[in-house]
Amino acid sequence: MSQNGNNQQNAEIPVPSVLSQNQEERIAARRLRIAARIEAKKRSEQGEDSGQKVEDKEETKSQLQVELSERRIQKLKIDGTELVSNIQVAADARESQRRDEQEEERRLRLEKLEAEAKSSLEKFEEISKKWSEAKVREIPQQLRDALKSQSQLCATLLEDKNKLIHDLQKELKVSDDRYVRDLKRQADEVDLMVERMEEQIKTLIKSYRVELQEIESAFEQETRALLEGNLQAWEQMRKDRGNKELENLRQRISRVEEFEGLLQKLRVEDAEEYNMIKSKLESDVQVLQQQLQQMKATYQLNQEKLEYNFQVLKKRDEENTITKSQQKRKITRLQDILNNVKIKCASQEKQSREENQSQTEDYRRIMQQYKHMQKKMRRFAVIDAQKFEEVWRMNEEEVKALVSRALEIDRLIHQQQLGLEWVAPPLPFMQRSGPVRTHPQAHSSALQSVTSMLGRQGEEEEKGRMEEESTIRAEEGPSSEDVVSGSEAGGTGSGAEKPRRVSQKTVKRLLELLCDEAGFLIESKLLKLLTPLEKNEQSLMKLDSIFSAMGLEHEEDVYQLAEFFVRFKKEQAQEQEERGAAGGQDESTEDEDLIHPNDVLKTLKAFTAQHCKARCVASQGSGQGSVSVSMARSVGVDAQYWESMASVISPAKVIVWNSLEKALEKYHTVLTERSKLLVDTQKLRQQNSELKMLLHQYVNSRVNAELEVPPTQVMQIVRNDTFNGQSVPRTMKR
């Protein structure tokens, strides 16, 4: 192995024996010292242990013990490792020393080598110098001497070198030896190290065991001490408790005694008090008994008195009871009567109620029947009307056909028979069909009248104001008179005959007034809708709604209303005149044209009341009237109508017709005779032809041919004549 690449364990340096001995000695000494130290420490610790036990019981001895043993083991370990590593350190030291030495040796060797090289160089130079000298020599002896010396020199040089080599080889050998020795030594050291390690491990194990035991014992002691201490404490506490109990008991006994004494005392006191109270109460009882006696005496007295009183009262009471019973009987009787009356009343009420109910039911039923009847009647009326119309139409058609036939015949007669120009009579009814109607458009609706009226107003506006007033005044007079007369004549006169009793102007004004005053009758919605319209249209629409609300339908109604207003006003004026005779005229004239707006409502109310009545009557009347009218109507007009139809052919014409008939009958007889004659001739002709046929047959038969004289030949001439009619042979064949 190389010098550099080896371990320190393979150190080669041959260490002097003195040194090695020294080291070993030192190691041994150290070991002894360590052992001594450990011993001493153990001893001291053991001593300390006992001392510590006594000294500080409080501190945990086990911990102390653990610490101590830890420290001890630590020390043991350190010492052991030191012991082991001592070898390594020593080897290191040797190695480093060897290196130092080696370096030194190397230096010396180098110096030596250098010196040697120098000397040998000098020698070599000397030799070489001598060589040059030798060349100069020419004498062989000299040359030989020189050579000899030269060879001698060379030999010495070589010897020197050899010596050096020898030395070096020696050194090498020495170092080899040393290497071997070192190896051996290192092996020894390794052995030693192993030994020490084992030893250390052994001692460590031993000490560990000892320490463990000690620690355990320490723990045990500690636990024992703890147990003891706890036991002692326990005992102490038990004793304490026993003492306390005893004391308590004693205290209790003493307290019980005390309480007994107190009780005794209290008992005695109570007995004394009791006696005292007893005597006192006895005396009290005596006094009270005396009082009782007294009270008994007074009681006796009072009892007698009261008994007497009682007797008196009893008598009275008896009397009272008698009267009471009498009264009671009376009351019961009266009660019975009352009850009877009540029952009667109830039955009566019930009866009446039932009656009432039945009657109402009857009424309802009758009403229903009546309604049914009405409905039926109306239906029948309609049907009848329809039937009537149908019958009418049918008859009319029939009649018309007859008329037209008659006229046609008349025309034929005139034209064909008489050869006269026929003029058609006027026939107005021919164009008409259906039954005659009675003025269906006589009653124009109220609204129409109003519109017309308002429209007129627009025209009249062109005229001057003055004119207007004058006309109003002019018309007012007669109109008012008319109204009065109209009203006097009859409330329910037909409106068509008296349309102008109230002037249009007043009516118009009235209407405007109505528009303004009776606005409440108009629906608010309608008002809203009306706002964008013209004034005229607005008022028109308003009036329409007002009329519909009031139930005015016909123009007539409107005039009636106007009349009513005027009348009402007049009545008022009369009243006023009656009141204040003097200046009523002016006011009345002023009010004449228009009723005061405040009175409009009143008058309206009155009017509606009246109007409704009138209408009811009218409607009732009209329900029946419509039928009766239709019936009545047919009698006059229809007769006339039918009459006109019947009288299409005038009597003059009838006479003509009669004469014509007679002539024609005569003509007819002549004609019949002629026809009879014609028939006879026909028969004769037929016979003739038959005969011809028979003849022909005979002629043409076969027998004829067999005959000697054929008849054909005979009848040649006849034949020619008979061929004209064909029917003859046919009949012959038959």
Binding site: S2, G5, N7, Q8, V89, A90, A93, E95, S96, R99
Partner: protein, 455 residues
């Protein structure tokens, strides 16, 4: 087996029935053998037969995960350890089987070193064996590469204690010697000087530790320096491989004649390695320049442990290391044992201790340190409050140095281990120092207990 069955069938005869007429008819039907040796237990169950079949044909048709748990256990018990690895490697995870394999191959081993995993142990040792017996240009690299897919999931550490050199002709070694690590060894020389880790390291995805030693074990009398040659080419390929292995945490290259140049090359590739925590280059030939490179690496990695003991680092190298140490914030342990730092280097390291706040352990044993270093060190110890362990053994500090050190230690309260053996200091100061250490230890112990109590 069949014979016994046949026998039992033959012996199923009336006498048996006659002997127990009152017995249950169900029982009567049962085969009751006269043969005392026969029992139902002898007849193997069908399941067992099947399982045995599975075991015997496991190589042809591996079937394990489909089995019931109890059957699986049975099969694993019965499986022979000689099965080819490509069948078993990724299929069997049962520790029992791999323990069997390991024991059969190497005898009993300490499984705790392998994270209590026999499988890991097996594969690591198997791979190590393959690599250790790998002869460049003779052994096919396929032998190694074939193993990779099988063992890459299990190998976490590789401890390679030897790497065989290529076989050479007698003349060639001389040539090689002359050319050394120059580039002209390419043409007629072997394709590689040792096993090339470049093909392996980037494939082992879980590799964390790598211990290498470029040398031959047990060469005996065939010793030749060439057997222990760590060539420049090896160094370069190794460095590249290391760079590609991102999971590596521990790297140890020892007894491999790593000199300054190779050290610098290695360091160059290891700069900014993401995972490397421990670097061990002990027992090499690293000098000052290599030390300077390592100093540079210190501050460009997250190294926690650095061991460069038994090298040839002198004053300048130590100064470079000291400079790096004064700025470093990750290094926890530094071992410079058996170097030649001298007072110059020792002072530099000691001064670095004043500034450093992370270093816990420092080993300066056997470094030719003397009194001046002791003075600076005592000053540093008085100021430093992180260092726990310092080793100054085998340095000639002398009596005065011991006194100075004692004084320095008296101001310190963290150091619990100070080795001053063979430093030629007085007994008294040694005792004093040991007392201080003890008090420090008890203090820290107390602190620990307090902290534990608080927690």
């Amino acid at each position: 087996m069949d014979e016994t069955v046949a026998k039992t069938l033959l012996r199923m005869d009336p006498p048996v029935f006659k002997s127990n007429p009152a017995a249950d008819p169900r029982k009567m039907r049962r085969i009751i053998a006269e043969d005392a040796e026969w029992s139902l237990a002898v007849v193997p169950l069908l399941t067992n037969l099947c399982l045995q079949h599975i075991v015997s044909n496991f190589e042809a048709q591996p079937m394990l995960d489909d089995l019931l748990p109890s059957h699986k256990i049975y099969v694993l018990e019965k499986l022979p350890p000689s099965l080819p690895l490509h069948v078993t490697a990724n299929l069997i995870s049962d520790e029992g089987y791999w323990k069997k394999c390991c024991v059969q191959r190497w005898g009993l081993g300490d499984v705790t070193e392998y994270g209590n995993s026999w499988k890991r142990m097996f594969f690591e040792r198997h791979l190590e064996n393959i690599i250790e017996l790998f002869i460049p240009d003779v052994t096919d690299t396929k032998v190694v590469l074939d193993m990779v897919p099988l063992c890459k999931n299990y190998v976490k550490r590789l401890t390679i204690s030897q790497l065989l050199p290529p076989i050479r002709d007698p003349q060639k070694p001389e040539e090689d010697d002359s050319s050394d690590s120059a580039s002209d060894s390419g043409n007629d020389g072997p394709s590689m000087d040792h096993f090339d880790f470049g093909v392996l390291l980037d494939k082992l995805i879980y590799l964390e530790e790598l211990h290498l030693s470029y040398g031959v074990k047990g060469c005996g009398m065939n010793f030749d320096w060439n057997l222990f040659e760590f060539t420049f080419r090896d160094c370069e390929s190794l460095a590249k491989a290391l760079k590609s292995c991102k999971t590596l945490k521990v790297l140890r290259i020892h007894q491999s004649r790593v000199d300054d140049e190779k050290c610098r090359l290695l360091v160059n590739y290891l700069l900014d390695h993401p995972a490397l925590l421990e670097l061990n280059l002990s027992h090499n030939l690293i000098g000052d320049r290599g030390a300077r490179a390592i100093g540079k690496l210190l501050n460009r990695s997250c190294l926690h442990i650095l061991s460069v003991y038994d090298n040839q680092i002198r004053g300048p190298g130590a100064q470079a290391l000291g400079h790096a140490l004064s700025k470093n914030t990750s290094l926890l342990s530094l071992n410079l044992r058996l170097n030649r730092l001298g007072d110059e280097g020792g002072q530099a390291i000691a001064q670095a201790l004043v500034k450093n706040q992370t270093l816990l352990s420092l080993h300066l044993g056997s470094n030719q340190l003397s009194e001046p270093t002791a003075i600076v060190l005592s000053q540093a110890l008085a100021k430093n409050s992180t260092l726990k362990s310092i080793n100054l053994s085998c340095n000639r500090l002398g009596v005065d140095g011991g006194k100075v050190l004692e004084e320095g230690m008296s101001h310190n309260s963290t150091v619990v281990d100070c080795d001053v053996r063979l430093t030629y200091i007085e007994q008294e100061s040694e005792v004093c120092i040991s007392q201080i250490l003890r008090s420090n230890l008890s203090k820290t112990c107390r602190k620990h207990t307090i902290e534990a109590n608080i927690k």
